[in-house]
């Protein structure tokens, strides 16, 4: 579809006349074929300069060491350093925990909300939709600061729990290695669930309602309908959201810096924060920082391939 091609056997008039650059569409109107490249050329150049070229640079940097600008090639030493670096191990572990708990939790919640909110008989439907989508309009930094205060030692959450007798003394959420991670996971889920829900809702609008009616007549209950109709229909979107969420969570930075600043100890530090610290907080070591950053690249590629495979197999 959509390809400008002349009918087989038809001789292209401009070619006969020597105008090799012109072509005609099916209505017979001539236009310059190469002009199509002009539309995309700026973007191609910009993405090459600001994405692909730095990618190659970072790879080369990962084999170099030195302070600030004075770098020299040191072979695989940065890569060897990774495995004996306790901060890197902590950052990798934390990021994996965020990923493994938060992404499935959020996607299941978002699916659940979208199915409930797709029901035209539901009252206050648009109120619920807007309420659940609302967190998306906040900036990562702003909501992080708010969560930091909510979960502070004299924050509202502690007072609420105390007043209603759930706890007998305040919990120092952000100073506890486990609770601090829980707060981060809650925060990201709060911010992004509504965002993912919108994709599912948009996709559900395109679903023919008669499929569900037929299923109901066949005696399928709502849970069966969910797993046998909704999930398979939404599968490409679920794949899309799980990949984008995985990439997002692997790069988590703003929340960590502004809620816990990586602490207590290195209990919440993420890979991105460690890269930032290595480059701009500690004595700058761009080479080693690039090596750590390539761990994220490798994780993104591997996890995306796995997710594509899983989605493909069930077809």
């Amino acid at each position: 579809m959509g390809q400008q091609s002349t009918k087989k056997g038809e001789i292209d008039l401009p070619v006969r006349l020597g105008y090799k650059e012109t072509k005609r569409d099916k209505t017979g109107v001539y236009f310059k074929k190469k002009v199509g490249w002009l539309f995309i050329i700026i973007s191609v150049i910009a993405i090459t300069i600001f994405n692909f070229y730095p990618m190659i640079q970072a790879f080369l940097l990962s084999f170099q060491s030195g302070m600030g600008g004075n770098l020299e090639f040191t072979g695989l030493s940065n890569w060897q350093r990774l495995f004996g670096d306790p901060t890197f191990i902590a950052a990798l572990t934390n990021t994996s925990i965020y990923l493994l708990i938060q992404v499935p939790l959020m996607i299941i919640l978002a699916l659940f909300f979208s199915v409930l909110l797709n029901d035209p008989n539901l009252k206050f439907r648009s109120f619920f939709r807007i309420a659940i989508f609302l967190p998306c309009v906040t900036s990562l930094v702003a909501y992080s600061v708010i969560f930091k205060y909510l979960f502070g030692i004299d924050g509202i959450i502690n007072q609420f729990l105390l007043n209603f007798g759930f706890i007998s003394e305040t919990i120092n959420f952000l100073a506890d290695p486990v609770w601090a991670k829980v707060v981060i996971i809650l925060a990201i889920t709060w911010r992004w669930t509504g965002y993912n829900m919108i994709f599912y809702l948009a996709a559900l609008q395109n679903v023919d309602k008669s499929i569900y009616e037929a299923a109901r007549i066949d005696g399928a209950n709502s849970i069966q309908q969910f797993f046998q109709i909704t999930v398979p229909i939404l599968k490409p979107i679920i794949l899309f959201t799980s990949i984008t969420s995985t990439i997002g969570t692997l790069q988590i930075f703003d929340e960590i810096v502004n809620i816990t600043n990586g602490g207590p100890g290195n209990a919440t530090i993420s890979i991105s924060q460690y890269i930032y610290n290595l480059s701009f907080e500690y004595t700058p070591d761009f080479g080693y920082a690039s090596t750590v950053s390539y761990v994220i690249v490798i994780l993104v590629v591997v996890l995306s391939i796995i997710q594509f495979r899983v989605a493909g197999e069930k077809k």
Partner: protein, 275 residues
Amino acid sequence: MKNVKKIFIYTFLSLAAIVSIFPFLWMLVSITNKSVDVTQGRLLPGTHLIENMKTLFTTIDIVPALINSTIIAVITTVLTLLLASLAGYGFEIHRSKGKDIVFNILLLSMMIPFAAIMIPLYRMFGSISDSAPLIGIDSLGAVILPTATTAFFIFFFRQNTKMFPRDLVEAGRIDGLSELGVFFRIYMPTMKTTYAAAAIISFMNSWNNYLWPLVILQSPEKRTIPLLISNLGSSYSPDYGVIMSAIVIATLPTALVFFLMQKHFVAGMMGSVKG
């Protein structure tokens, strides 16, 4: 049985709505309260609003931060819309095998984590700082350039262009418009909804961007809103009422943009989900 299910659904959704909205309500109430009241979790409006605003606008440089953020977000959004829609149109309307390959390569850039290219980008902008200060380190230009062209928006426009009636392109050509003429005079006005949706996402992304400005901007007067809030939030003797006021002011533009264009947003999203 049916009623039990209904009660469960409404309770669940109401709880979710409360959890979603509560931080906003608390934030809005807190801008009218004193710092002490905010920490004690006061949930009733107070009388400290004017005081908070005074402190915010006189002792904290929120105005320059707002100006910087606005300049960056507006220029980034305009560039994004123009470049991404040109490319999305070019890839879909002037489709060819070669362009499909280029498109797929561009899509790969969506998988590049920013942390991986941050250091080379920083060094790249550092190396041109002396010759081109407007786009060197510590310049607003350096914040804008790497964020103005992204494969995501090209993909977004290409998906939406699939719904654009091709006959209009041919009609434009018959009327003697150039290829760019067709784009600017026919495509752009027809695709208003798509542009609106892309504008919302681009503006929000740019307004809320934190890591790259944190890396590239150094002098305090160049600070953007997220940098300012992060700084206030981590200070040792925070005035919570004032910080909350700064957060509310920072959230207002994106919230407004979103609510004004909400319908376009969902419509635009639907276009890109259809595939």
